[in-house]
Symmetry: C3
Subunit: 208 residues, 3 copies
Amino acid sequence: MNLDALLYWVGMAAVAVSALTGVLDSSRKQMDLIGALLVGVATALGGGTIRDLLLDRNVFWVVDQTYLVVALATAFVTFFLARSLHLPPRLFLIPDALGLALFTIVGTQVALQWHAPWLVASLMGVTTGVVGGVLRDILCNDVPLVFLKGELYASAAWLGALSLIGLQELGLHGIWASWIAMSVVLALRLLAIRFHLTLPAFAPRRSD
Amino acid sequence: MNLDALLYWVGMAAVAVSALTGVLDSSRKQMDLIGALLVGVATALGGGTIRDLLLDRNVFWVVDQTYLVVALATAFVTFFLARSLHLPPRLFLIPDALGLALFTIVGTQVALQWHAPWLVASLMGVTTGVVGGVLRDILCNDVPLVFLKGELYASAAWLGALSLIGLQELGLHGIWASWIAMSVVLALRLLAIRFHLTLPAFAPRRSD
Amino acid sequence: MNLDALLYWVGMAAVAVSALTGVLDSSRKQMDLIGALLVGVATALGGGTIRDLLLDRNVFWVVDQTYLVVALATAFVTFFLARSLHLPPRLFLIPDALGLALFTIVGTQVALQWHAPWLVASLMGVTTGVVGGVLRDILCNDVPLVFLKGELYASAAWLGALSLIGLQELGLHGIWASWIAMSVVLALRLLAIRFHLTLPAFAPRRSD
């Protein structure tokens, strides 16, 4: 399997798990089928869309309709599962961490292949990884989770993107660098949840 | 009147009625003239702008300044009318349904002429129809109406866009297909309001 | 110093002061280092990014990584300063007004050089000036300040952009017109804060 094929399938998997998390999250709000579908699709496709607009590429799901079909189908199935089953909220954290890891690596690789400068490429990885969730939270009218004090999230993505760029700069093949960097993001995120690893934050204020 | 001329005038009418709904909606918040103008313009031009960015077309109102002038003028007049008259809130629903119908058909046709795949084209119609209202609600810091449980909205637009594509695929001329599909969206939306037609939704939860 | 060099340095200064205001504002919310950095970067780069996407230009900070480095470095330093010092909230208003003035003029000039029609160009100036702050407020889940009843803000930017276009149309050199228009925006904004200059607004309603 070459790098392009790997990125294609990893991207497709990331779209599916993100659509799932979008619909699960929307179930906390009074949304109907179409609202849940739209939030699922926005979560699944939002990050890569912003990346493609910023890089002036063709938007990936406009060129290849398969991504849109996968997002819609996953959201559709999740909606009816989530209505009939009582899913524990913590179940949500594993696919969300997986989507973050997959999207970050795909987004960074796409930006590198587009010859973006390295710092921009790392930020494109973070963008692809977190923007879907930010859209999801804005559409549900919450403060986006990624901005709140909490366990490593965007920082895990950023460290993964930077390690991908560093490993490839050291001569490692893109496929191995991708697998390692995905593991870095996933491990950092899951360890952060388990052991409450956080970054320095603003101290709580009395007012506001 | 050929199809291009029809789409031009329908688009212009959609811009005007959407600017009107944006300003009417902003009157519920403590906004001043410029805030109301900006919300009106964002509601009027937002959907088509996102469609053009996603399709990598030139943004319609940057190319043809007339749309911007119509949006600004309508918003300006509506602001001073809304200040002096007491308009019943339900009056708002008719132009909003009209804007949804007009924008959905224009958006779908533009995407088809740009040779987008059919499922993408139908979603571009929905995008053009609903994104302006989503922006309006985000800027006013509400949960966007389109995502909430309620009478058919985005689903009416989607069915209209799909019927447009289906009718043209069956060989009907674009002009007739456009008029029929506009009527489908408008009728579905107004019947849904009248008879409280809804989609399946998440059951209310106790917590949250 | 020619016009291009002036716009480059003014743009860089605007990025720095906007990153500063973004981080200061995020300190009111429970954000950690990465949240504050992302809000700072979005505030600093958001307006110019939307302008470039609408005009179908290459996004300025993707082409020239320096802007991103300046935004990140300013946000980083501001985060640790804001954590250790107690800054009075009113201090925030001066750099915010400066960023508004600088970005408005850069945005209008860029759009004019891109041969946008004049009304579009003036709105691109307003967009570049205010969108960063709108993003900042949406990410912090507030109603964007620019839309609320209050002292002149977007209107100051718009008058400045229009005076820039008018002065250049009258034959004044772009450098002088830029300095004068920047002073117009800054003076209008600061005088509006000092003397509570406001636009007509919707009257308060009893309900909602």
